[in-house]
Symmetry: C2
Subunit: 196 residues, 2 copies
């Protein structure tokens, strides 16, 4: 991404701050007033520069049509998965986790609430929100969400010679060994925890 000049940076920062405070973008006039410009054209030239350099996108003709490129990913949280429900597609989530795109990237991402302590040595505890990405290549050692025996579980994934090992991160539990190709829902790419 191209570098901004000092003043461009200031304008960009103002837009960010404005959105953080007001939850909607500023108008050209509001930016103009804030910087004590005497003409909206001054602002427009900044917005053009910011857009050209890839920092914002503009919805032309629309009021407050300034969109920050570096922005958020809304992750739907599937609170309770009724055991035996293989479709997370049209889920009835109530919550969203919104995170800067830099954190988890983009893609088909959702969140599950972990039950149990079978992954505790991997730092995944009961009640944690795991961030799961669909449609990614699974490599040995990855933590995956699989649909197995009518339930969703989180395990380490290992492809062995003649079988697949789904290994918990807790010595109290045994690995699950399966012959057939498991129904992998996604790869765990992140975690979010609330601590009381």
């Amino acid at each position: 991404m191209k570098k901004l000049t000092e003043k461009q940076k200031k304008v960009f920062e103002f837009i960010k701050d404005y959105i953080a405070e007001n939850r909607y973008p500023p108008t050209i006039k509001e930016i103009m007033d804030h910087f004590s410009f005497f003409s909206p054209t001054a602002v427009v030239s900044y917005l053009n520069a910011l857009e050209k350099k890839g920092y914002i996108k503009r919805d032309k003709g629309k009021a407050r049509g300034i969109i920050l490129k570096e922005y958020f990913l809304n992750i739907p949280v599937i609170g309770r998965i009724p055991a035996g429900t293989p479709k997370i597609e049209e889920e009835n989530f109530e919550e969203f986790i919104s995170v800067s795109k830099e954190i988890f990237g983009e893609g088909d991402i959702f969140s599950l609430i972990v039950k149990g302590d079978s992954m505790k040595d991997a730092g995944i505890f009961d009640g944690d929100y795991i961030i799961v990405k669909k449609d990614v290549e699974i490599k040995n050692g990855d933590i995956v969400v699989i649909f197995y025996n009518g339930e969703y579980t989180v395990k380490y994934f290992y492809k062995r010679k003649n079988f697949i090992e789904l290994k918990p991160a807790n010595p109290s539990y045994n690995s699950i060994i399966i012959k057939e190709s498991p129904l992998i829902t996604g790869k765990v790419i992140g975690l979010l925890r609330k601590i009381k």
Copy 2:
């Protein structure tokens, strides 16, 4: 919070979806068009109902001045704290973590990136983003961020009879015992992890 009628809910959902998609709120006309209303008054009556019931706030007179009440908390991420810098006030953060307010609540909250494995048995790993809240009461057993010996560290907090124990969650490390009252920066209320 008062319950919404079916149609009010639909309008509210539309506003939420619109914002998720466009990053700025819809105009009255856009809502009107979406629901094929023939008059903006229809929309206004819905917005009034939503505001009265506490679901939105309106910035009167401003274009797209619809604000969702249930919204996000922007947590500044302080990437690297130069050892020996006791002020996190005017920090030079680059990142924000934006989370639904339901997750971590509200308040003076920031995030630090964990270095080291001294809290690994608490499920806090190297590279994790811990969510820290200032100005909260610290109780025994809480995980806290303290400024000690020119550095920030994360430890369990225990107030003993004649001293304070700052205990790591890793048998390889020893507790820090201090007599004087430590400079507690905040309490760890959450965690966010990226998994490669």
